[in-house]
Symmetry: C2
Subunit: 264 residues, 2 copies
Amino acid sequence: MLVSLSNEKIKKIVKLRDPAFRKEAGVFIVDGPREFRRAVNEGLEPIEIFYCKEYCNNEIMDMISGYLGKNEITIFEVSGKVYEKISYGNRKDGIAAVFKAVYRKFCDIKLSGQPMIIIADGVEKPGNIGALLRTADCAGIDAVILIGANTDIYNPNIIRSSTGTVFSVPCFSAQRDEVIEFLKINRFTVFSACPDAEKLYTEQDFTVPSAFIFGSEDKGVSNFWDDYSIEKIKIRMQGIADSLNVSVSAAIIIFEAVRQRSLK
Amino acid sequence: MLVSLSNEKIKKIVKLRDPAFRKEAGVFIVDGPREFRRAVNEGLEPIEIFYCKEYCNNEIMDMISGYLGKNEITIFEVSGKVYEKISYGNRKDGIAAVFKAVYRKFCDIKLSGQPMIIIADGVEKPGNIGALLRTADCAGIDAVILIGANTDIYNPNIIRSSTGTVFSVPCFSAQRDEVIEFLKINRFTVFSACPDAEKLYTEQDFTVPSAFIFGSEDKGVSNFWDDYSIEKIKIRMQGIADSLNVSVSAAIIIFEAVRQRSLK
């Protein structure tokens, strides 16, 4: 059992919180049984599993047993203290694992006949990106495209707040220019929620190939998009607030699109 | 300027994070200029204002100046270190204030002609309650009723995540029994999102007096409500996840109700 916080293995795991180190190492960390299961179900490969008996229930112990004796996976029992050090946040589920990172290439993006995608351009909080991914999963979105600073899908907070749907939703990092070209080629209409839009989101036809763009929490969608023809839509605000959380307004608009499409 | 972390005044402010102390003192703390403004706009009275020059912009300084010389308000300049100690989270806006608490009585609840209310029964995370309040504000909800553990509307995290809409949305703490009676008297139909419901939320008529009930993040709506006739509705999940965050599913359903009502 690993009990020392100064163990090199443990130090390396903690360093995986650093995006640059994560990228260089080509691995990332998943904690929590639900997230672990979803990663495995989507074909991602665990390399190392760390578990802490005092926090694991039987179901988790059984799951870990299934990996015993596999050559390519090393399993470590760790003390409560070590587990608390390597796990993220304050959930104590008793399992954390290092997985091999797999990055999707933007050129591999695949679209359905009536595509619907999300573009997160400059969304800053990993928690909001995770929530967008969770909505994308439930709404059957074709792809989520991340532009800007927070484009590392293996950020622990994105994994956590997406409840592991980040592993199944086709999620790509891309540059603005290539995204613009992609939108043109595939004849997407681009929609953006904007408080001063004239049209209500419920008056808009979302049955066309639809790209929903969301911008930074503070500044909204970047000026870069001004040159691109964007359909601005609004959610009517009936109270004192001038905006909703980005993940909430995204869900409202995207599920209106799902509703409209279900009528056709 | 207050510079000492061991100053009695500062210690008392920090203690306001404790719900029991807050309740006993009959005051609560607001931090951030947006939240401060919304509290004041809704008629709440600041008693003490703490500001830290190094974090305040001109706009905030001007706002604070407006309170100078008012008998009933004491203004303290504090050091950066003290400000960091009393403010909540890691936003550094430079203003925090103690307000007199005002608790709404459930018997004072007022309803519109076509009422729509939210019941949060056992929702645990203050962040989710705050998000529900923000949605309630934007959707023009008549009232939000809190049942269960987290019913202290002056929880700093509720204030923060509601962006101060907690001060304007008619928000009440109540017991289940009195809520049931209220629902019956006012002929509410009660709706609950449930993954195994047969009816999609989009197939449901929400133009009747509607109460939307949301339960604990882990266990959903309490069994207590089994005896009450509840219309179960579902959001179709198209991906690997079996649920959405409570605040997201609430927003999807409530804004579908808003849409339906706008058609009438």
